[in-house]
Amino acid sequence: MTEQIYYEDVDVGSEIAPLAKIATTRMLVQWAGATGDFNPLHYEDDFARAMGVGSPIVHGALKRAWLGQLMTDWIGGDGRLKKMSCQYRGMDYPRRMKTIDEPLDGETWWCRGKVTRKYEDGDDHMVECEIWVENGKGERTTPGSALVALPTRSAE
């Protein structure tokens, strides 16, 4: 856990501390079990090919959950996540496994974001952000937005 961030600490254009993620086939199996989403699109080669995506793809909801972590890590224990949205625009393909717990070399994904607006709403100190997951080529496969309430130093 990092230090608490306050409303006064951010301005339009401020960057959210980025979060690195590596998707692996093993992780997609773990995600399937943890969510109950057993769609073979995410683990069955022939099925994924027949669906027109080439090979198994990363669950959109996993990328959305990464973005949730991006925001909750950033706002800390005293911030509140009010709204979040994202669109699954581009396919992402997991790294295959080399050993039981080690993936092959390959892509690393980055969850990133930027402050687009800050304003006061009654007693709440609101911050709007543009957020996204980008693939190893820097393409934003999962763009979205978030609205958070941050604590203020003046309230202390």
Partner: protein, 157 residues
Amino acid sequence: MAEGSLITDMLKELIGVPSEPIVFKVEEGAIQRYAQAIGDANPLYNDPDSAAGIKHGRLLAPPGFTGWPVKAGRPTEKLFESLVKAGAPPRILDGGVEFEFGEPIGAGDVLTATPMIAGISERDTRLGKTMFTTAEITYVNQRGDLVLKSWATLIQF
């Protein structure tokens, strides 16, 4: 209705009508496994004996988690079934989601989810004639507090 429209009269009748609510429990182990699958080590979701766990008196759920299973047999899947029954194309992609968070969700909560088709539109895409459905789900906890509203986009072609 334009000729060749995917949006049948039966589909139009589904819009705005809440479906049967679904009740489910948010279990501590399910929260932990979900957080582990994200790779999120935040003690809020993982360790009930941590300072964060003690402060809240229970594990909290990561944003968007409403209990296991998230998908199978769950609200969006039920809506999808009713859409296909009303003539919507059977192939589906998850287009994205919007969440509005209310009171925190945590271990021990019993949530009631009420799904509803909020709107349907269509346009030509590289997938061909494509239908976009907004599936709205309202989640309320055992105390009657609103904990989450979500709007999922279902892409059918």
